[in-house]
Symmetry: C2
Subunit: 344 residues, 2 copies
């Protein structure tokens, strides 16, 4: 199969293939017994930093389900250490020395992916070598605003107010951090594409904390530069997931990605009505639907497919990461139903 020709990659470029491709956010993770078994012997951070382990975990769901794409087992926090910030997991990310001043901001350095995250690149190479040629491999990074949230807050938060107030109080330092994050993520993503990633995803997990005006002011300029920067160096498609961003969808589209990921709270038909029928969308089954009886789950899958049919192309996914208590048999059912219902 020629490069760039998987069903998944063709969908990213707006082409409707023989069926709707499907993969699942966090598909390599805790809902799988084989993942939990492997993790008994190796902690999370070590797993992300050991190429053959990361590749193994990335491939686990591909061996169990006929998914159309694999996503590298890694974490959006992984490159931050290489920018000069310590990150621990307990189990969520904790940054013992968050950015709280201009001086803190100046401690950061531009990421050199080959030097600082060689294990990520090697894991991609190992995975790509083992993955069947008709399956795509997705590399990823955190979007600058979301990484900024963690870097300033120092860990997870409901409102990330420390970070959001820093944006308002320390505008110059905040802009410097965002700029450095943007340039680092361009390098990180380009290096991933050169190491075998067939598509690149940007996770903006916390961008839903911004209204459209704040998004345009604090996040969009950098997002546009990151996506433009990546596209200047590689032609792999870019997927942008602005989680919780129902009110800033049109602005997020201006960032210029090939595909927009849509969370489960915004019906795909509404997303497409707002984005235009040239848009390519990814999503967006409610992860809670996997806990429903199968007839109900099947009905919700059909609804998502039928709404996604209004877009130029559609990549089926959940509207958020799969929950760790999900029954893997429900995932098998989902993948089968997506393929079955969408086959031409």
């Amino acid at each position: 199969m020629p490069e760039g020709d998987t069903l998944f990659e063709r969908a990213c470029r707006g082409e409707r293939g023989e069926r709707v491709p499907v993969w699942i956010m966090r598909q390599a993770g805790r809902y799988l017994p084989e993942y939990r078994k492997l993790r008994e012997k190796v902690d999370f951070l070590t797993a992300t930093k050991t190429p053959d382990v990361a590749a193994r975990i990335t491939l686990q769901p591909m061996e169990r389900f006929p998914l159309d794409a694999a996503i590298l087992f890694s974490d959006i926090m992984t490159p931050l250490e290489g920018m000069g910030l310590d990150v621990e997991f307990s189990p969520g990310p904790v940054l013992p020395k968050p950015i709280r001043s201009v001086e803190d901001a100046r401690r950061l350095r531009l990421l050199d992916p080959e030097e600082e995250t060689p294990y990520v690149l090697e894991a991609l190479r190992l995975t790509r070598a083992e993955l069947p040629s008709d399956r795509a491999l997705i590399g990823f990074a955190g979007a600058p605003f979301t990484l900024f949230c963690y870097m300033v807050q120092g860990g997870g938060s409901k409102d990330f107010m420390e970070a959001r107030s820093f944006l308002r109080r320390e505008t110059e330092a905040a802009a410097e951090v965002m700029d450095l994050l943007g340039r680092s993520m361009v390098r990180y993503l380009v290096a991933q594409a050169r190491s075998g990633a067939d598509a690149l995803m940007l996770f903006d997990s916390w961008v839903g904390l911004l209204g459209p005006d704040s998004y345009r002011r604090f996040a969009l300029p950098l997002m546009r530069r990151v996506i433009t920067g990546v596209q200047a160096e590689t032609d792999v498609p870019v997927i942008y997931f602005a989680n919780g961003g129902a009110t800033l969808l049109e602005a997020a589209q201006e960032a210029g990605s090939h595909v927009l990921g849509i969370d489960w709270t915004l019906p795909l038909s509404q997303a497409v009505a707002r984005l235009g029928s040239d848009a390519v969308v990814q999503g967006n089954l409610d992860p809670a639907a996997l806990f429903a009886p199968r007839d109900e789950l099947d009905q919700e899958i059909r609804t998502v497919l039928s709404q996604g049919a209004e877009a130029a192309a559609h990549i089926f996914n959940l509207g958020h990461g799969i929950h760790r208590t999900t029954d893997p048999d429900q995932v098998a059912f989902l993948v089968d139903r997506v393929h079955h219902h969408s086959a031409r």
Copy 2:
């Protein structure tokens, strides 16, 4: 002043008065040094259960700022104990015995507010007696879906998946719990109105976890019954805050409240365009704007006022609870600017 005639109450009924009324979610709380001082001597739970302390805290911001309404110092979890569920705070709510089965659900009982939460009603009477007659007193309750989330999850959560999967797996038990919550909150709100509350607010803090279809299926029928039930017993206005509900705004409107609270991520002009110019809206300055320099804060206040002017009436508020690290002087500035800019 005749009953029901405060500026705030008139705005709730769609009347534009001499200026836009303003109050602030969580205005009685940790950003105030006088609150922190009082709390050194009394823990949170005791404060909510001791009428003169709760009244004192409720009145603290009213003495410091010319706010148009006071909101009772209490918690949405307060009535759950009277329904048969233990609730602790550490510091967020923790329910040691969450609802996880039909049997658990059947342990719950209908709330008798006079019997189980007399301190709430007494705190309202004490506050109303001390509050100037041109200031309104707001009582409140959690919306059934949000309370259901805590009752099943057992505490705070990013995704409340335990609760959301329970809705799908245990439909009958879930419906029973929701029904009991709905009937209990009607009783609780009506009792508050009879004890001096001039308006009643329903906080649906976690409803943004539902897309519009799930909202219509799992939450809206109950919300409509709660609001109808309250309105059958009292004529005080009802404010419904569907937090994070940008994608379900039209459905939330069908619940039938007098006022809809809008969070900061949905510009008021967009909310009014979708709700119609007969709508009364409350909101929605970004709480992070209080950390900006004053010229920027002033500009954002003007934007919210100008967008709110498109509605039948507008109650100025933040788009979420005020953050504990906010400078009270910024709040003084905000209240002054809202009054100044909106004066006719």
